[in-house]
């Protein structure tokens, strides 16, 4: 059985300066209660790897507003002007990465691959300073793997062994990040007895999940 913690106890595992991957797409499929607790906790100097920072004061936007984030690797911050302000003022070091490259870099980190070879971004400023590789006379951009100290993810159903299942578009980055965090904390809508999620429905095997968040009271 995986340990299951209250959100406020789970965030105690995370030190200042930690490198976090956070699931979700505009807040959809983000671990809402965990992010609320993290924003409340007064952490500083976090690195966040996520698709976006949602909207001001929402989900990852709560961490931005709390001043907890000093570095951000994301594909889109357009709907959160607070993140944009932090980028322009220099308070947040923002690395913008094409979305398909971002998710593939996270996958490469979790899958033990050396990097991602893509045409996306080639010849644009998004490729500045990046290595290229010539393969059979064609040029490819080499994007490096991403890993994190913690992956904070959300799921629809979990079982007590940590097996996870996701719902509709709340899936997004969550199953990919589940392999790329040294410690994986999952907030699921419900936690079922072991064996209640059929093997073919499990999308993330429990063996890669370290902690579950207790259901809301």
């Amino acid at each position: 059985m995986k340990p299951h913690l209250k959100p406020e106890d789970a965030v105690k595992l995370i030190p200042d300066g930690a490198r976090l991957m956070i699931g979700g797409f505009m807040g959809v499929g983000s671990p809402h209660r965990l992010l609320e607790a993290l924003a409340q906790s007064g952490k500083r100097n976090l690195t966040v790897i996520a698709n976006d920072t949602a909207r001001p004061g929402v989900d990852i936007g709560k961490l931005i507003r709390a001043g907890a984030v000093s570095k951000l690797i994301a594909s889109h911050i357009g709907l959160n002007p607070e993140t944009q302000k932090g980028m322009i003022s220099g308070e947040i070091d923002v690395e913008l990465v094409p979305q398909g490259t971002l998710v593939e870099r996270i996958r490469a980190g979790g899958y033990g691959l050396g990097g991602v070879l893509t045409k996306t971004g080639l010849g644009t400023i998004a490729a500045d300073g990046q290595q290229t590789v010539e393969i059979d006379g064609e040029l490819w951009l080499l994007a490096k793997p991403l890993k994190a100290d913690f992956a904070l993810i959300a799921a629809d159903q979990a079982d007590y062994s940590g097996n996870l299942q996701y719902q509709l578009t709340s899936t997004n980055f969550n199953p990919i990040m589940a392999l790329a965090g040294a410690t994986v904390i999952c907030e699921a809508r419900e936690i079922l007895p072991i064996g209640m999620i059929p093997p073919d429905v499990v999308k993330t095997p429990g063996v890669v999940v370290d902690y579950l968040i207790e259901r809301a009271a």
Binding site: F25, M26, G27, V28, G29, N51, D52, A54, R55, A74, S75, H76, I77, G78, L79, Q84, M87, I88, V94, L96, P98, Q99, G100, T101, V103, E104, R107, T118, K119, T120, G121, L122, G123, T124, I125, A126, D156, Y166, Q167, L168, T169, S170, T171, N172, F173, N174, P175, I176, K203
Partner: protein
């Protein structure tokens, strides 16, 4: 007819039966309204769904079924949800027949800038770079000018989205196709003259003979 309806109707006629299409948030999303249902065009959204449909009736939505803008949507029977890696596998791997997206600038080489105005607007590229690099056809749907200034320019001044040439530009004034020979003016919007298009365009246009009026399928 409103300018954006002209654009949306014309783009709709560009989409092929049974094709897989990604519509950008905003004006491109509205293209779906003008599709012939019998064409079985399948819409996808890069946040992870194939078979996207319009926003459901009030009170029948769910926060876990959204489009790439985070707004709730519905799905067709036979829809499939996918994770972000698979989603971009479809896009990057050449499985997406067409993407329709907006632009800040398009230039004479057919290159597109649509993701950043340095120092001013830093939304990030989101999925745009993958879409423009990977989709089989890239259709730009935009107003011809922004506050009177041409958006079709000799050379993009803003950072490029991709070094790949886009397939077609559809505006409220014209249909323009980037080719090896330059930007070819293919069609005029109803009631718009070639001179008006040239005046609203700072890029050089290739105009070869008579330029027909757009067929929008209805009276404009």
């Amino acid at each position: 007819m409103k300018p954006e309806e002209i654009i949306q109707r014309r783009v709709a006629r560009e989409l092929k039966p049974n094709s897989l299409v990604n519509l950008g948030i905003g004006l491109p999303t509205g293209v779906a309204k003008f599709i012939d249902e019998h064409d079985n065009i399948l819409f996808e959204s890069e946040n992870g769904i194939v078979g996207l449909a319009a926003k459901p009736p009030e009170g029948m939505d769910d926060p876990d079924l959204t489009d790439a803008g985070g707004g709730t949507v519905s799905a067709i029977p036979g829809a499939a949800t996918i994770d972000s890696a698979y989603s971009f596998g479809l896009i990057r791997g050449g499985h997406l027949d067409a993407t329709v997206l907006g632009a800040l600038e398009v230039d004479e080489e057919g290159l597109l800038a649509n993701w950043v105005v340095p120092g001013k607007m830093v939304p990030g590229m989101g999925g745009a770079m993958d879409l423009v690099t990977g989709a089989r056809r890239v259709i730009v749907a935009m107003n011809h000018t922004a506050r009177g200034a041409p958006k079709i320019v000799p050379k993009c001044t803003l950072p490029l989205t991709s070094i790949r040439r886009i397939s077609l530009i559809v505006t409220d004034l014209a249909v323009i196709e980037p080719t090896d020979e330059g930007l070819v003016l293919r069609e005029r919007a109803p009631g718009v003259t070639v001179d008006q298009i040239v005046a609203a365009t700072s890029a050089k246009l290739v105009i070869d003979g008579d330029v027909p009026e757009m067929d929008l399928g209805v009276a404009a």
